[in-house]
């Protein structure tokens, strides 16, 4: 700040150039507003890049939340176990297969998190190929059984716990319980439609169904099953009675186990249930646990992210290059303006600040427009798919900032170039 006089006298204090910050800012904005078309084209890359970012992240979170919504409480607490046929049993020509231990229900219910667990299967006739007959009245004669035109109704058997796990809605009577099951009593639960087809409307007369001629007392009529509603058109009898009359399940319709767990316990129970059922051969059970909602969501997010975020990143880089290019061209075009500014007292840093502000403003504006377009896209897509748009403020709010950073980085080199322009050169033009 102090120079030297010809002799040794210090130069008087010179007040240095200090433009007001808002003046520099308005100079930069003026530079943008004066060339609106170019400014818009320049910010296009940033608009697309930031817009893509917001759209992808928005769609991912939206789709992710739809997926997790599909995980109803019902399916998240359900485990199905299929008894896979033992190849050794086939080899010896054994048609029946049943790998569940007799106390399967109890074993599984001891697992922490289990609410109900029980075995069920579809009953086949003892002689293969011959359908079961289900009638509301005793057959006229055993001999004419084959000629009898019974109603085609499927027969299922389930333990009381399995029935409970299915979540039945009982319209009349009750479900069969442990007591009746243990005693091997011939009781049955009928579905609404089966009862209708058999002409049974009331239980007060204690009606029965005859399965292959054997009577079963109808203790209840269910109107709905929350799990495995495919059993609905049929008759459900306890496994104890079914095993006595029809034997163990055949390999053509193997046994299943249905487990209802507490919410959140399904993964844990599923990991333990194989060993609990058969420590020697846990592999004989095919355990169908609900997909972990987190892992599924993460998987979807991940696969979308890696591909599209890469594209968005590339778009942003292209946007940055666009801004850098245009700003550089602008610097070269405005060389004489820069010279003029230097001649009226602008320091190189003032010139640099002006161009840096211009590029940052372009980036920020592009980011803002891109964010708006991205949000609009997410909302429109969600509407057409009847989804609920889910936008994470943590991704949406900083998005315009991303544009500003892109602009700032892109403007650095042109701004340095502008600062290095010599006023002598600039004013020669």
């Amino acid at each position: 700040m102090l120079g030297r006089r010809t002799g040794h006298v210090h130069y008087p204090l010179i007040e240095r150039s200090r433009p007001r910050v808002y003046e520099l800012g308005s100079e930069a904005i003026a530079g943008l507003v004066q060339r609106p078309a170019r400014t818009l084209l320049t910010m296009l890359g940033t608009v697309l890049g930031v817009g893509a970012f917001v759209t992808i992240l928005g769609l991912t979170s939206t789709a992710g939340s739809q997926i997790s919504a599909a995980f109803s409480v019902l399916s998240a607490t359900q485990i199905d176990i299929d008894d896979t046929a033992d190849p050794a049993a086939f080899a010896v020509g054994n048609a029946t297969t049943y790998d569940f231990p007799l106390d399967a229900d109890a074993r599984v219910e001891h697992l922490n998190g289990t609410v109900h667990a029980g075995v069920w299967w579809k009953v086949q006739g003892t002689e293969s190929g011959r359908p079961l007959t289900v009638t509301a009245n005793p057959p006229v004669s055993i001999a004419s059984e084959t000629d009898y035109q019974g109603v085609q109704i499927d027969v299922y058997t389930a333990t009381p716990e399995a029935l409970a796990a299915m979540g039945p809605t009982i319209s009349q009577g009750r479900a069969f319980d442990d007591f009746t099951a243990k005693r091997g009593e011939h009781v049955a639960v009928l579905s609404d439609s089966a009862a209708q087809r058999l002409g049974i409307t009331r239980l007060d007369a204690q009606p029965a169904v005859f399965i292959n001629g054997v009577p079963y007392l109808i203790v209840g009529i269910v109107s709905d099953l929350q799990r495995h509603p495919e059993l609905l058109p049929g008759v459900i009898i306890p496994t104890t009675a079914a095993t006595v009359q029809f034997g163990l399940p055949q390999s053509s319709s193997p046994a299943h186990m249905l487990i209802e767990t507490r919410l959140g316990a399904a993964q844990q129970v599923a990991s333990e249930v194989g060993l609990a059922l058969s420590p020697e051969h846990p592999e004989r059970f095919k355990i169908i646990a609900p997909t972990d909602p987190h892992s599924l969501k993460d998987h979807v997010t991940e696969s979308l992210n890696t591909l599209f975020l890469l594209l968005a990143g590339i778009t942003l880089i292209i946007g940055a290059v666009g801004i850098a290019n245009t700003t550089l061209v602008s610097v070269l075009e405005r060389t004489s303006e820069i010279g003029l500014r230097r001649s009226v007292g602008a320091r190189p840093r003032h010139v640099a600040a002006q161009f840096l502000t211009e590029s940052t403003a372009i980036g920020a504006l592009g980011g803002l427009i891109g964010t708006s377009l991205g949000i609009a896209t997410v909302v429109v897509v969600a509407m057409t798919r009847h989804w609920t748009a889910v936008l994470d403020p943590a991704t949406v709010l900083p998005a315009p900032l991303l544009g500003a950073v892109v602009g700032l980085l892109a403007g650095t080199y042109p701004a340095l170039r502008a600062a290095r322009i010599e006023p002598v050169e600039a004013l020669r033009r």
Partner: protein
């Protein structure tokens, strides 16, 4: 006041471009310009006019000698102080006007205040308007350069050079882009300004422009020759404009 140092003093001022080969664009030169003088520097192109202009305008550094402004050597100043001094003490008028095409006349004038004047916008605008009034453009405040005539554009540029009340007005071929009638009007304006106390140095190759000056300095191959000694006493010319300069340069106490 007679003990005041001259406004501008060149002591063996020289500028050599490093080349190769090195070019002595300005050979060691002595020149003194007093406050209120009107000096023309005339020479053909390639004579070193631009080099001298850049040195006088603190746009370039000399390679030898001293350039004294207000009695102080500017060659030893750092870039920041030279820039500040340039913005506050020197007004430039260019051949090509160098107006911003998207800014109105008054906005173009106000550009000169941007870096050195921290007063409120309204106050600065008032100064810009009075500068435009001095050059006779008070009715064209909001006009864009594109609708102004050449003469009007140069007068806007002159107003811009005046608005910071500089000690020295440096005009580089101020009429080079103008027809002879408009050129005469601009020269008349510059002469009025000198009469009002402005110190003016005009750099030109046009003898018609040079003969308006009180002194003419010939430059040829980088060497100055005084054509005509100062005919007018400068102290008599001093008056309002320079006296009202905001004392941006104050003596260190």
């Amino acid at each position: 006041m007679s003990s005041d140092p001259p406004l501008l003093e060149l002591r063996r001022l020289a500028r050599t471009y490093p080349g190769p080969p090195p070019i002595a664009a300005l050979r060691p030169t002595d020149l003194t310009v007093r406050v209120g003088e009107h000096v023309a520097i005339i020479g053909p192109s390639g004579s070193g006019k631009s080099t001298l202009l850049n040195l006088l305008g603190l746009l370039d550094r000399p390679t030898g000698g001293q350039l004294l402004l207000d009695g102080f050597d500017t060659a030893t100043l750092n870039e920041r102080d030279r820039t500040a001094l340039r913005g506050r003490r020197i007004g430039f008028v260019f051949q090509a006007f160098h107006l911003m095409p998207h800014r109105t006349a008054v906005e173009n004038v106000m550009l000169a205040q941007l870096y050195t004047d921290r007063r409120r916008r309204a106050e600065r605008r008032a100064d810009a308007v009075s500068a435009l009034t001095i050059v006779g453009l008070e009715h064209r405040l909001g006009a864009l350069p594109s609708i102004l005539s050449g003469g009007e554009r140069q007068r806007v540029a002159i107003a811009r050079a005046l608005v910071n009340k500089p000690a020295l007005l440096l005009a580089d071929e101020p009429t080079g882009n103008l027809d002879s009638r408009t050129a005469k009007q601009v020269l008349d304006l510059l002469e009025e300004l000198v009469a009002g106390g402005v110190t003016l140095m005009v750099i030109t190759h046009d003898p018609a422009v040079a003969e308006r000056a009180q002194r003419t300095v010939m430059i040829q191959d980088g060497e100055l020759t005084e054509q005509q000694p100062a005919a007018v006493t400068t102290s008599a010319m001093r008056s309002t404009v320079t006296d009202s300069i905001i004392p941006v340069v104050t003596r260190a106490r």
